[in-house]
């Protein structure tokens, strides 16, 4: 009696896996918060699957830097077709691995404050690093790094460690882009104000919300989150005269992908209306291509593009170790 039932059940299972196998699978490696239920992942997956006749599967790995380390660990055998979530501080290193293929397209119309000419990676969103503060607690807000450095010693900021966090590395580049050879001097001035350095963004931001420090390194879009999602208008980003360092988040196609055409279609989809309109209120960044309806209501427009600071990927790679040494020296005293 039992055997036919079992066989039928087995046949059913086999049939269902077979039908799933008919659809090609596109593997996208990305960072952790992208695939969270309240992140862009679920909506992106749904939108792409309605047009691609494929199965989009995400694999999550920490943050941008962890993502690159993961792909390097896997090497040419990686099953990833697309890596989504590196930024321009990492792209030179990523391209040098030889694991990525050129995308072969022009980025004519975009919403970026800079010209885009990278041959291997395409941007999907961007934002500015900034120090965020509580408007009810802080009246005299520093508007450049030197003012911040000359603030009373009780004025404290929390930053992330560049060795373990993407924003932390961003701040390193920010100071370097704004001050060049004067960077060690700026860091020495900032050192007494750095309450602590955290492993990642979450720890730092959590401590800031607890009231541990006056400002925290985050993004100009962070206050927008509090305004839109929590109707809380007490957070603001301190705008610095030197300008703000850009974080441009990008995706690239793996050279070893077994679904190169599908991967190309995904990159095209990534720059399309449906993907781009998901980004602002899920990833809390500016879309790389502005949707027709513009930014969502209540989303603060970005600061003027003339204030954008960015190192070219090759400069960022070349200067990284020096900048880290300067940072370590200043903060270890």
């Amino acid at each position: 009696m039992k055997t036919p039932l079992l066989a039928a059940g087995l046949a059913l299972v086999l049939a269902s896996t077979a039908s799933a196998q008919e659809k090609p699978i596109l593997n996208v490696y990305t960072y952790d918060s992208f695939v969270a239920d309240w992140g862009p992942g679920p909506a992106v997956e749904k939108a792409f699957e309605t047009i691609c006749a494929c199965d989009l599967q995400f694999t999550a790995a920490g943050d941008g830097a962890a993502l690159l380390a993961r792909v390097q660990l896997e090497g040419a055998r990686t099953k990833a077709d697309i890596v989504l979530g590196l930024d321009t501080n990492l792209t030179a290193k990523a391209a040098a691995t030889g694991l990525f293929a050129p995308h072969g397209r022009w980025m004519d119309e975009n919403n970026l404050p800079i010209q885009w000419d990278d041959t291997h990676f395409l941007p999907y969103d961007w934002g500015y690093f900034a120090f965020v503060y509580d408007t009810t607690k802080l009246s005299r807000v520093p508007y450049n790094f030197e003012l911040l450095a000359s603030a009373p010693d009780s004025f404290k900021i929390i930053v992330q460690d560049p060795r373990s966090s993407t924003p932390g590395l961003g701040l390193l580049m920010w100071v370097k882009a704004a001050y060049g050879d004067r960077a060690p001097e700026i860091w020495a001035g900032l050192a007494p104000h750095i309450l602590t350095v955290t492993k990642g963004w979450s720890e730092a931001y959590g401590m800031f919300l607890e009231g541990e420090a006056d400002m925290v390194l985050s993004y100009t879009t962070s206050p927008t989150y509090h305004q839109i999602a929590e109707q809380d208008n007490t957070k603001a980003a301190a705008i610095f005269e030197e300008g703000h360092y850009l974080q441009i988040e990008v995706a690239g196609k793996l050279a070893a992908s077994d679904q190169p055409e599908l991967a190309d279609r995904f990159l095209e989809f990534m720059l399309s209306e449906s993907f781009q309109s998901i980004i602002p209120t899920t990833n809390w960044m500016y879309p790389a291509v502005l949707p027709k309806a513009g930014l969502p209501e209540g989303f603060n427009p970005p600061i003027a593009p003339s204030k954008a600071l960015l190192m070219s990927p090759s400069d960022a790679l070349a200067i990284r170790d020096t900048a880290l040494d300067e940072w370590l020296t200043a903060l270890s005293k």
Partner: protein, 522 residues
């Protein structure tokens, strides 16, 4: 015990199997990482600064934890009061908290904007600033004082109550009891406990960095992390991991040399009545000590409770699914830990050859860098199977190995004692294998086994470190979900998830611990 013939049975060799598994997991993964690297690596001055800081903070943290735990455990051992068992369960909580939750809880009490700072300001003083060396030590004592207390408490409970009765009959003072009973017991337990905590603090990373106030507080584990992520220099990561192993090995040898297992003979295992400390001053001292320790440990937990309550109602469904997944992983992990620990403890206690080596293997996972274990496993497994497919089994397995050292600390002494007291009797009855275990060993070690399994389950609930590389986005565990919530600005929900995590961990611990002690012989 050498005259006792050893029968070669499955039971006899199971300990060697367990040891081989642990060596493969900790040293094997290190080898895999080293092999995957391209070339040699030199250490810079920054690495030696990291080494110095790592050693110093671990030494101070371990000294303080142990020094405070001895009087607290003694007060707990000789006082009987309402809620004592609850207090002991609660003592398990700090140790199992995910780092980020514990740090935020600690800061709400001891931080710049914390309760104590507010009180200081109210009293006209400056705000507290714990960031720096003191912050690192504070956090490490918060994590490890409870563990040390629990281990010492077991030591006290292992002294048969007849001894105390005899001591009272002889008119011994508190000081005499300390000299003749308590000191020999501590001599057996203290070095190992000290070494365990020292090793835990050595591999600390996020706590040290966050509360240490910056790169001055760089530990070796952070340097390993940097080698992986920032430089992708696998050779350097392997060299640093080896350095970490060397330090840990030195600490372990030191503990082993100093340790003198206490032999108390056997008693009827009734809870002791202490006639020597009924005086009002020792009583007051104990009450004060227990109150202070409870305040220190419980205040951050109360914070987590109150912050989490409002977030609990907002938790999205996936968080509960993650919670169920975590409970399953924790249960599997507890079973594996218990299996491995019993195999090792039995073999060691029966005086097997290479007993020292077996015991050392049980502590290897403490010395291993979580980052290296995770990456080594990943490199080894990746060519054969999709890592995401085996994410949960691997999590359970690695968590089991990580909790093993604590399980061994609890189990080896009691298994050894069971062998000493009843082993010869069992031999004369020709009791071997399963029979011997079921009738002789198990009833004597049940409380310790319950504690060990509970600790393993709770630790497994809270752990995240090693298996981040394997994480399957659709099968996240509760701690991973907690980090995701925080990473997406969902602080309220994250607080709720933290409360859920703490509550579930404690519940698991309580169920096992209680189950072990219920109707137990001792």
């Amino acid at each position: 015990m050498a005259y006792r013939a050893q029968q070669i049975t499955l039971w006899g060799v199971s300990g060697y199997g367990a040891a081989a598994f642990l060596v493969a997991l900790s040293l094997g993964t290190l080898l895999v990482v080293a092999r995957a690297s391209a070339g040699g690596a030199g250490l810079g001055s920054a690495d030696f600064a990291a080494l110095r800081f790592t050693l110093l903070q671990a030494l101070v943290s371990a000294c303080l934890s142990v020094a405070l735990a001895v009087p607290v455990a003694r007060a707990l051992a000789r006082r009987n009061f309402k809620g004592r068992t609850w207090l002991i369960t609660l003592l398990g909580a700090p140790f199992i908290l995910p780092v980020i939750v514990a740090v935020l809880g600690l800061l709400t009490v001891y931080g710049r904007a914390g309760w104590l700072s507010d009180a200081f300001v109210w009293a006209g003083l400056e705000r507290m600033n714990i960031y720096g060396f003191s912050g690192v030590v504070l956090a490490h004592v918060f994590f490890n004082l409870p563990l040390a207390t629990r281990l010492f408490l077991q030591g006290w409970q292992a002294i048969p109550s007849e001894h105390f009765r005899l001591a009272a009959g002889l008119g011994m003072s508190s000081r005499d009891i300390t000299r003749h009973l308590e000191y020999p017991m501590l001599r057996g337990i203290l070095p190992g406990t000290f070494a365990t905590i020292f090793l835990i603090c050595i591999t600390s990373f996020a706590v040290a960095l966050t509360l240490g106030g910056g790169p001055r507080a760089t530990t070796i584990e952070l340097a390993i992390y940097q080698a992986f992520r920032f430089d992708f220099d696998l050779a350097k990561a392997a060299v640093l991991a080896l350095l970490q192993f060397a330090i840990c090995a030195a600490a372990a040898i030191f503990a082993w040399r100093l340790s003198r297992p206490a032999t108390f003979g056997s008693g009827f295992d009734a809870p002791p009545q202490r006639w020597d400390c009924t005086g009002i001053s020792t009583r007051l001292a104990d009450i004060l000590l227990l109150t202070l320790a409870t305040l220190f440990l419980a205040a951050p937990l109360v914070v987590i409770l109150f912050k989490g309550l409002s977030g609990l109602s907002e938790l999205p469904v996936p968080v509960f699914q993650a919670a169920i997944r975590s409970i399953l992983v924790a249960l599997c992990s507890a079973c594996i830990t218990l299996g491995l620990a019993l195999a090792l403890a039995q073999t060691i206690a029966r005086g097997a050859r290479f007993g020292g080596f077996l015991e050392a293997s049980g502590y290897l996972s403490l010395a291993a860098s979580p980052m290296v274990i995770g990456s080594g496993l990943f490199i080894a497994v990746f060519p054969f199977i999709d890592p995401a497919l085996i994410a949960l089994p691997i999590t359970a397995l690695v968590n089991a190995a990580l909790s093993l050292p604590f399980a061994l600390r609890a189990l080896i002494p009691v298994v050894r004692k069971a062998e000493q007291d009843f082993g010869q009797l069992a031999d004369t009855l020709n009791m071997q294998g399963w029979q011997r275990f079921r009738l002789m060993t198990w009833p004597r070690i049940r409380p310790a086994a319950g504690f060990a399994a509970g600790l393993a389950a709770a630790l497994s609930m809270g752990d995240l470190g090693v298996v981040a590389l394997f994480a399957d986005p659709d099968a996240a565990t509760l701690p991973l979900m907690l980090y995701r919530l925080m990473g997406s600005y969902q602080m309220e929900a994250a607080n709720g998830a933290a409360l859920l995590l703490v509550a579930l961990s404690l519940l698991l611990f309580w169920v096992f611990d209680r189950g072990g002690r219920m109707n137990a012989a001792s």
